[in-house]
């Protein structure tokens, strides 16, 4: 089986040839094996979001290639090979919850009945079946984010791209959603690229934590995480803290934007 994502020697330069030229990513290689969850972590400006956007074909690389599910990034995007979620839920406030989840299906030309049943299935996956008829403004931030995840999963993509999706949530909601995300990924076999600021979040979720550094953005090292189970007890375990320490150490070697 081919890898979910292969990033090969990718460089991204913004405003090339102008005085405000920025090298956002320099010579980055990344492989996401099918079914695994990879976290990208690093200080602000290290290019982790840029890398995610390159994979999603929201921007194009200056040099190098990105392939998703064995296809080039543009084709993969057009065939909806991935679902994406951002830090803001970004729901369409004029659509009810269920119609928000239906939108990507609608654009795929799925029939009304089919997309309704698929959307309801996705909502039950994130535990929001009772809120299908509500408008986004009537939901809490955590619930909105769950709707956004349901929407990202609606086309049942082999790949999920997440850009700090839990960044704006409180700690308790965040931990609950992390567990839910792991459950969903395990159930659906989805591969995930997850951008985060949080070391504990990265370790808890990932098979591999990729540590990045800024100016120019590049990958410093990767920490493979091998936890036997991933439930709330593991957050207290010796092994978990070892991984957290390892990632923190790797990040320490990275020049920070502002010392705390």
């Amino acid at each position: 089986m081919s890898d979910a994502v292969v990033v090969d020697k990718v460089t991204k330069v913004f405003n090339q040839g102008r005085p405000d030229e920025v090298v956002a990513l320099s010579d980055v290689d990344l492989v996401v094996p099918s079914g695994s969850l990879i976290s990208l972590i690093g200080p602000s400006g290290c290019g982790k979001s840029t890398l995610l956007r390159l994979i999603g074909d929201l921007i194009t690389p200056t040099s190098g290639t990105v392939s998703v599910a064995g296809k080039d990034a543009d084709t993969a995007r057009r065939q909806q090979e991935y679902g994406i979620a951002f830090q803001q839920a970004g729901l369409f406030e004029w659509r009810t919850v269920v119609r928000n989840v239906e939108l990507p299906l609608e654009l795929r030309g799925m029939s009304r009945a089919d997309r309704r049943s698929r959307a309801l299935e996705m909502l039950s996956l994130v535990g929001l079946s009772d809120f299908a008829g509500h408008y986004p403004a009537q939901l809490s931030g955590g619930m909105q984010q769950r709707v956004a995840i349901a929407r990202a999963l609606a086309v049942q993509p082999p790949l999920l791209l997440m850009d700090e999706p839990f960044g704006a949530l409180d700690e308790m909601t965040r931990e609950r959603l992390q567990s839910e995300l792991l459950g969903i990924c395990a159930k659906t076999g989805t591969s995930t690229v997850f951008v985060t600021h949080s070391i504990s979040e990265a370790v808890f979720l990932s098979n591999r934590v990729v540590v990045m550094s800024p100016r120019p953005g590049r990958i410093v090292t990767a920490v493979d995480v091998d936890l036997p189970v991933r439930d709330d007890t593991v957050r207290q375990s010796e092994k978990y803290f070892e991984y957290v320490t390892a990632v923190r150490r790797a990040l320490r070697g990275v020049p920070q934007k502002s010392p705390l």
């Binding site: 999603g56 074909d57 929201l58 995007r77 057009r78 909806q80 991935y82 994406i84 951002f86 803001q88 970004g90 369409f92 406030e93 004029w94 659509r95 009810t96 939108l103 990507p104 654009l107 408008y135 986004p136 403004a137």
Partner: protein, 253 residues
Amino acid sequence: MKWARTILPPVIVGVLFIALWQLIVTAGRIAPFILPAPSEIWEELVAQRQNVWEAAVSSGENALIGLFFGALSGVLLAMAASRFKALDDVSLPFAAILNALPIIALAPILNNMFESTSSIPRRLVAGIIAFFPVFINTLRGLREVDPIHRELMHTYAASGWTFATKVRLPSALPYVFTGLRQASSLAVIAAVVAEYFGGLQTGLGSRITSAAAFTAYPRAWAYVVGACLLGLVFYLATLALERLAMPWRKRLI
């Protein structure tokens, strides 16, 4: 109870205001040509109710037709301007000039351009006045699309047309209605005031001027009350339409 709490305070204030007005006019012996008492205005309003109603229907029709076409062209032109950069650059200064014009002042000129039995001048004035707030607000709304929505639609490989109908238009709706609310009141004012400058004399405006010319001030005031009610009806109708069109919005103002 909640209903009573929102309705009662303004009603009480209104009643107090009218009572105070009545008291000042009768106790202060203010001449009726300066300020008639509310009771006199009310008597006139009851006596003239058929005429007030007919004049209000006539003005209302003019305002409605003007509002409809003014708002429609405002929305369509805003859509075109947000779609084509060149049109955008050209249309804004023109719209600003149109807005800066004292459009009411065009009424006598328009009256001369059309026959004296034509309703078009008044409707034209109402339409031009309604156009600007709708155009400006819609254009702003069409431009302000949430960047996340833009990116999401890009990941869905949505076409330009799909993006316009599924995202750009619905997200601009609140702005369209902000413009419509301003336009609805302005259209009524325009339809009434345009009659001050001649043309067909079937609406509230001409009744107010003729009553005032005959020093029948309570009657003039009765027609002013009619104009107030007409403006209120237009405003509330717009609010109701807004609520129907945007059920996801809880608070309207």
